[in-house]
């Protein structure tokens, strides 16, 4: 039994070394250590262009750029952050061109999706980075944090 556990430990160790080594050269390699105010799943190459921003700070700063709601069109219509436009991730993933047409690459983009665990902002940030945008801000906590902080919303076309 001891030898089996020893072999298992070697396999664990070997896979650890292998994963760290390959991750260094992987085109979508991830930073192994991330700080508290960042989210996992963002490749190293775009890490410097993607910033995580508090919802209240985003409310103030988004006026300088574009506030983008990545949720589905129906959820957006139901309610959304005041001043946000809908770039439904589903559509953005298929073809980003119609969305980014006419948007200057240096425009700061403030992205949000449903909540803290929603991966859409992170995934959209990768698409937008590939399209040449370098000022990407992900709003922490997404729309649920926006609602939770009583920030202005538009519901069915009315301001709340």
């Amino acid at each position: 039994m001891m030898s089996k556990l020893f072999q298992a430990t070697i396999l664990l160790f070997f896979s650890l070394i292998l994963s760290i080594t390959v991750n260094q050269f992987h085109p979508r390699g991830l930073p192994l250590i991330i700080t508290k105010d960042m989210m996992p799943g963002i490749p190293k190459k775009i890490f410097k262009s993607v910033h995580f921003i508090d919802v209240k700070q985003a409310y103030i700063e988004a006026k300088k750029g574009m506030l983008i709601d990545l949720r589905s069109a129906s959820d957006f219509q139901n309610s959304h952050a005041k001043g946000a436009i809908n770039w439904s991730y589903e559509m953005l993933e298929k073809n980003p061109t119609p969305f980014i047409k006419g948007v200057k690459k240096e425009t700061p983009l403030y992205l949000y999706c449903y909540d803290e665990t929603c991966p859409l902002s992170i995934m959209a940030s990768k698409i937008l980075w590939e399209q040449g945008f370098r000022q990407i801000f992900i709003i922490k906590g997404g729309f649920s944090a926006w609602e939770g902080n009583w920030l202005p919303e538009e519901k069915n076309g009315y301001l709340k």
């Binding site: 089996k4 556990l5 020893f6 072999q7 298992a8 070697i10 396999l11 664990l12 070997f14 896979s15 650890l16 292998l18 994963s19 760290i20 390959v22 991750n23 992987h26 979508r28 390699g29 991830l30 930073p31 192994l32 250590i33 991330i34 700080t35 508290k36 960042m38 989210m39 996992p40 799943g41 963002i42 490749p43 589903e90 665990t117 991966p119 859409l120 992170i122 995934m123 990768k126």
Partner: protein, 144 residues
């Protein structure tokens, strides 16, 4: 003579289970290795691991799956690999059950990495993981 035949059949059965299990582990690791960013985003949705650890652990897990899969297919360090396989299955069962108990909708991220929750996992689909766990325990603790 009869006993020998039964033993030989048993050996073949274990061999088949080992190879199938190995292929399942290897296949499930491929997309995770190609798209570590998407896999990490899926792991976040389970809401179990602290966020700072997700990147490192999700990368490690993908390669561990691949290594265990290859070892099982080749029949090298069979028992040690099967013990690790059962550990991973057990961990996954715990993660999935915990997420289901908390009402979190998610795809397991087992083979094809989908972040949408159009066909979320349910208690009814846990048998697949249970079957994998049973097979790996069978291999890991079988008598010579």
């Amino acid at each position: 003579m009869g006993r020998k035949l039964v033993t030989r059949r048993k050996e073949w059965l274990f061999k088949i289970i080992r190879i199938i299990l190995g292929f399942i582990f290897l296949a499930s690791s491929i997309e995770k290795i190609i798209y570590p960013d998407i896999f990490a985003s899926i792991v976040v949705k389970y809401q179990i691991l602290p966020l700072w650890s997700v990147n490192a652990l999700s990368i490690w897990l993908s390669y561990l799956e691949a290594v265990v899969g290859i070892m099982l297919i080749l029949g090298l360090w069979e028992k040690a690999s099967a013990i690790l396989a059962s550990g991973m299955c057990m961990l996954f069962l715990i993660f999935l059950s915990s997420a289901l108990l908390r009402g979190i909708k998610l795809n397991c991220g087992c083979f094809f990495l989908e972040t949408s929750t159009s066909s979320p996992r349910s208690w009814a689909t846990l048998w697949q993981e249970a079957l994998l766990l049973f097979s790996s325990i069978l291999l890991g603790f079988k008598k010579r």
